[in-house]
Symmetry: C3
Subunit: 346 residues, 3 copies
């Protein structure tokens, strides 16, 4: 009777269409996560940095960073969904809901919405919709992701293929993005970090975020542990030395956070991530790499109430290559992210 | 008049049997220590991660990790007890008391309970009982440790040898482990991370915790500074390059924390450390090492009230060696720990 | 329309004498910053470590470390003042005001008090007075610093040179240092960490702080990001590999914090930094360097109320050189700091 009590991770055969998996380790967030997230990413958005600034626009306190919330919810799902994943293939329909504040406790669950065995019969693609809720049951985040998972037994029969239809862009959770309590008349753009507001951005505009951030093993591992994400490739050099790259791989979410933090320089007033429409980790990132980023404005939408607008952005992160010429392809591209932020209007 | 105001650390001659040393720097713990502890160890126990989960079983809020409390109390004692230690020889009779919650302030003191000069007359063994208390005077932790300390003067007379009788196992502080307010009927094992509860474990059972965690200099130093542990060997590469190993040594307590965090995979519902019966740092650990761990169930005890039981465990941590075959000896073994955890019953 | 929305930093021509620049990203501080600051520096001062200890002398809660407050205020000013700085030339007249407590939100602004083009016409010196305030408008910190900044255009006309007269020593903000609520009768020197109080120090006395702390890339970058200090030289190895030193430079403020933390061993009861009279970063510091420090007592002043005194100190930090012989010159000297601390009297 040995080893039987550890979590081996689910194989393709272990997923049932329609089942909902409640993930372990609910998590409270608070001032510790806020400070550590700033310390690990250098994020400077005013709404998440200052209770006073947040209160001036109607929040009860500074919300925690949207991407921190994403990492926490995502991290919960790893042991149940992607421990035996060969690859994280993508995500879609990610939308952010209620803001998370100090002391809130999050739980997460995932529902299997698609299953498709691959032609090799050695792996299959699993589609899940993952949802995070606070202690009042408000949804703070919902997204679809799909991963390629190993089969335990190649010969095992596979269910009929079901591939969900995924929207090209996320819907926005408008009541949560702009609840009635929020009044952007109190938004101080000087303190926000930029004179540029929603009206000042135009579709097609490109912004080089200029700065670069070098990643250390200790930094990405501490971030990923903070999220209680247990994917082995980020932590175990003894195993990875014999792996595909000979070294630990940086959690792709850490690259997203760094790109978002760098984007402050040019998009400082984009204070809330409303949605991630699509995202792709194009190449792996390793300790020692320096992350740069640039963004293109894809589209603009007015939001109800007249005080804010949404900017749909494409942000590209690169490694060891400044983004002066807006690179979008090649081995130096780490991330290609399509997401939407909320920005105050004049 | 130079240098006279610094703490040179106590030599063997400076300890008096029966004296109690009050340690400096009382310490408040809170959300910052909680987040940083998770970030540095990856610990995932639900009770310590979520206020909501903790409240469901009767805590006023999520207690801080028991080992964090240990490190804080231990850290206080270092400048007074072990600054001139040649070796940390062992600890015993460690029992955890009142849980520590956000905002609690801890103080620590040590009483000298044994002194024995070594035959070389150059060193002696000092036994202390160290106790940590919260701001209400409740004991949060009590343990005995013994260290080999240099004599200032080989010729100095030594007191008559007194060696305390130490119990083979710690007693449990039951009123603190299971106060009346705790009701484990509210314990949700799914959120806890495992379907296995106290009844499911059997003496002799061995569990390989599977995962490995590589240690970076920055991670172990940040952890050890967080505990305000000042032992020089962890921090000063300039001095250690000429020392015994040519490099900094990882604080042994960090290895204990990593082993406990890894043990979540197999022992997820062992939500409180009740006692450490004995512990030995078998070999030194260095940055770059990957820590693995396995555990054996040594004994099971019912606890009053019928809702929980104690598991006495032996956990072995290794470096750079997976624990598939349960190694317990050799240069790859870092830690051999005999401790007791509380787990809910069905 | 590319790149136009990023902050290029001000050039010499962009500063106007007398203008006040309000800095972006107001910042709340709390238990997360407290824990992370301890984790990154190892600071052990009792007043900042324990709410209970702080309350015993009349604080409502433990104040946050004065140097953490300095780094936060300084960090805010970097994007507006020193992004194009060739060199940070010095600071003066730094005085600490109201203590900062958990949940306080800080804002910062800088007023241009001097401008002087250099003879090369390629750069100029900018003098600013930077002030940090809490959410009630109380000043928490005020200081002058001057930096050498590039001109955008060598041929651009320069304003008439104005160089402010700077005091040789900072005045003390006594009402803030010793408000009526503070009663040092409750100060417990044993818990404070040293038997030595203000009376025990004599001008001319030198103290070797003994311990050394090795800096890792991850530690100094996490500290500097925590302060949201965006100076590129600390973070971007890809750019710095071709720079003056071939590597990232440690934020000089991190060295100040380490020197202050090391000074606990010898100056444990110097519980508040009252002022920094002058400071010079003598040589650059890099990851891998081990920081040591020593201090000389320059002067002593009684403070009103009879319970406390001020010690004016010179603290020298070195790299890779123990301070047994009190070195004050040479390539191993990192920092030469003239500052004033408050210490209880008998």
């Amino acid at each position: 009777m040995t080893g039987s009590k550890t979590n081996p991770g689910r194989y393709f055969e272990d997923f049932r269409l329609g089942e909902t998996i409640v993930h372990a380790t609910p998590r409270s967030l608070g001032p510790g996560e806020r400070a550590l997230y700033i310390g690990l990413t250098g994020s400077r958005f005013a709404v998440q940095s200052s209770h006073d600034f947040a209160r001036a626009i109607g929040y009860a306190s500074a919300p925690l960073d949207d991407l921190l919330v994403f990492h926490i919810v995502f991290g919960r799902s790893v042991p149940d969904v992607s421990l035996n994943a060969v690859a994280n293939l993508g995500y879609a329909e990610m939308r952010f809901g209620a803001t998370v504040h100090d002391g809130d406790s999050l739980t997460a669950s995932s529902t299997v919405i698609g299953l498709k065995e691959n032609s090799s019969r050695e792996t299959g693609t699993v589609y899940v919709r993952t949802e995070g809720c606070n202690q009042r049951g408000d949804v703070v985040l919902s997204f679809v992701r799909w991963v390629m998972v190993r089969k335990r037994d190649k010969a095992a029969p596979a269910p009929a293929a079901v591939v969900p239809q995924l929207a090209e862009s996320s819907t926005l959770d408008l009541p949560a993005l702009l609840p009635e309590t929020i009044d952007l008349a109190g938004y101080d753009a000087t303190l926000g970090g930029s004179a540029y507001l929603w009206e000042d951005y135009a579709p097609g505009e490109r912004i080089d975020h200029l700065d670069g951030m070098t990643i250390e093993e200790s930094c990405h591992m501490t971030a990923t542990r903070l999220y209680q994400n247990t994917a082995k490739v980020h932590f175990n050099q003894h195993a990875e030395k014999d792996g595909r790259f000979g070294r630990r791989i940086v959690y792709g979410g850490h690259v997203i956070s760094l790109a978002r933090a760098l984007s402050f320089n040019g998009l400082a007033n984009g204070f809330r991530v409303a949605a991630i429409n699509a995202g792709r980790h194009v190449n792996p990132c390793f300790a020692g790499d320096t992350v740069y980023a640039w963004s293109e404005v894809k589209a603009k939408t007015e939001l109800p109430g007249g005080r804010a607008g949404a900017l749909r952005l494409r942000t590209i992160a690169t490694k060891n290559r400044p983004c002066t010429d807006f690179p979008s392809e090649g081995h130096e591209v780490l991330l290609d992210l399509d997401y939407t932020v909320v920005m105050p209007r004049r």
